[in-house]
């Protein structure tokens, strides 16, 4: 964590999915899954992205990874805009950016051995002439990676079904590490795991970050997990970021009314604290992201809404506390 320059810079990222568009049918509108997201991550930092289902956090990560072609915006990794790259350059750039997925059961090919799964990224880059490594070196690296993520190298020839959930997630992490990336995009990597295994994997992420100087963009829906793993936390709601703050400050001093509601809804494993807590219970569900609104996206459910919020959309602005927050309670509309 020595050099604090920016590794990833995301500007005005939008991802709109057309509904019901086909060869014959007309486009019946869009799902505005991500609707203008800005953030940056420094080298060696962990940015946590938190929000409820449908808030666009996974889509954001996939658009950053260029698994989807973003509708608009820039994704600048190490000074280069990924959205404007030719396919071959993009492939080369992927070496610096790898993903870990949520479901350790579905994201590993059941017909490949653990060793093959971990070796595959290297094999692909070898084939394209992007990685100069001999097959022996590759095998050594697979074994090395397995030990690094806490798996015995003797498990190399086993298939995914022979591993437990936590061990499979270790395989997924080793696969992501194979190309020695600088940025890891982690899409709910611990959500499917049991409590006792979750803490093991969280610790593994921290250890690897220290050892390899990794930078994480880390998604979770569990606020405690996000707070633990992240340096800064971005809270998303309905396709936009409503607040970014230092993780230590988030629970103590949430600013955006949505962040406040989210934090107060999160259960705390201590009956004494739970007995005294006053919850902000939001009414209703998250609205469907199928229309763009002129005002604040949280307007319908906000307990502190004002008239201006209905017509004017707040932008992320830095406050005195050092948070970035998109809410007119903290800065006047222009």
């Amino acid at each position: 964590m020595s050099e604090h320059d920016t590794l990833l810079d995301v500007h005005g990222l939008k991802m709109h999915f057309p509904i019901g568009k086909s060869l014959l049918a007309k486009n019946r509108g869009f799902i505005y899954a991500v609707d203008g997201v800005d953030f940056s991550i420094k080298r060696g930092e962990t940015l946590g992205l938190v929000g409820e289902s449908g808030c666009g956090k996974s889509t954001t990560v996939r658009a950053v990874a260029q698994l989807y072609k973003p509708t608009a915006g820039e994704v600048i990794l190490k000074g280069k805009d990924l959205t404007k790259m030719a396919p071959h350059d993009l492939l080369a750039a992927r070496k610096n950016m790898q993903m870990v997925f949520q479901d350790p059961y579905a994201s590993l090919n059941p017909r490949m051995t653990a060793g093959d799964i971990i070796a595959e990224p290297m094999r692909i880059f070898q084939k394209r002439g992007l990685l100069d490594i001999s097959n022996d070196e590759r095998n050594d690296r697979v074994e090395h990676l397995m030990e690094k993520v806490g798996l015995s190298r003797f498990f190399k020839n086993r298939y995914p079904h022979e591993f437990s959930g936590g061990q499979r997630q270790r395989i997924g992490i080793a696969r992501a590490l194979a190309l020695n990336p600088e940025l890891m995009l982690c899409d709910e990597p611990v959500s499917a795991l049991d409590v006792s295994i979750q803490s093991q994997i969280l610790n593994l992420f921290k250890d690897l970050q220290q050892e390899f100087g990794l930078t994480y963009l880390f998604i979770a829906h569990d606020l405690a997990v996000i707070q633990y793993i992240s340096d800064r936390v971005a809270v998303m709601y309905l396709g936009v970021i409503v607040e970014i703050s230092g993780s230590k400050d988030l629970y103590k001093n949430p600013l955006h009314p949505y962040t406040q509601a989210l934090l107060s809804a999160a259960p705390i494993p201590d009956p004494k604290i739970e007995a005294q807590r006053q919850r902000i219970i939001l009414t209703g569900d998250v609205p469907s992201p199928d229309k763009q609104r002129p005002g604040c996206y949280f307007y319908d459910r906000c307990q502190k809404r004002m008239d201006v919020c209905k017509t004017c959309r707040p932008q992320l602005k830095t406050t005195e506390e050092g948070h970035q927050v998109a809410c007119f309670l903290y800065h006047k509309p222009e």
Partner: protein, 328 residues
Amino acid sequence: MTDEVILQVRDLKTYFTVDEGVVKAVDGVSFDLHKGETLGIVGESGSGKSVTNLSIINMIPNPPGKIVGGQVLFSGKDLLKIPASELRHIRGNKISMIFQDPMTSLNPFLKISTQMIETIVLHQGLDKKAAKEKAIEMLKLAGIPAPEKRIDQYPHQFSGGMRQRVMIAMGLSCNPEILIADEPTSALDVTIQAQILELMQELTKRLGTAVILITHSLGVVAGMCDTLCVMYAGRIVERGKTDDIFEDPKHPYTQGLIRSVPRLDKENADRLYSIPGQPPNVIDLPDCCPFYPRCEKAKDICKKKYPPVTGFENGRAVSCWLYAEETK
């Protein structure tokens, strides 16, 4: 909560026969449920918490599963011994269940009205019209806006949180004595989870229903439950008042579990505590403490024999050799 015990589970054993051997999914579980009490059962996947509750109303799919022993005493009868017709009269009526995934737990092909009315007609002997009124009233209690209209819709027209409200309304429609909620909020978002838990708490308190809440989330039990059973590998390793257990967990597994959850309200250490090792393979478990390979306080005896239950004050009971006398 009163002292009146309404459900007694005694030495319940449910085994599953699979190709690899016998899975002792539930292996000697005992607990009491008091009138109006909310009892939490926590454990990780495969600990047997869901199987325990399906066993209570004798709904274990057979084959491969079989309840091989124990008793479930409810209103003076053993639910494992009574004829099927009598048991059906208790299911959904005296003891009802709601399940984890509200998206798949309602029949997608039938209207909400059909699904709610059939239960009320079956157990309360009302005619269809009266049953529908009752159903609408329950939906209203469960916080569904415009229930007169919504009742004639299909499940896919409801959001996840709304479907769980429907499940709760349906579960409570016959005013049961016990509501078994199997991970009722695990599939829901945190703000919706808060809504649903509050609703469950409010309604069951109002109706005087006792609740068995199955969950993996320590946060949820901390806020909801009077008493707690911690399960590991098919057995209850610790039980007692929720406050007592969080204050002073006695079993090393409970201790580890509580310590390994990151805390939102506190500064976390740079590294989280974590229980080493993997969850046990529950096939053909030997008669030892299944936690000993992961236990920091394991002794010789732990590898040889399953620990007996040691009782403490205030109804606390722990199965661990740290507290039990080794007898030859």
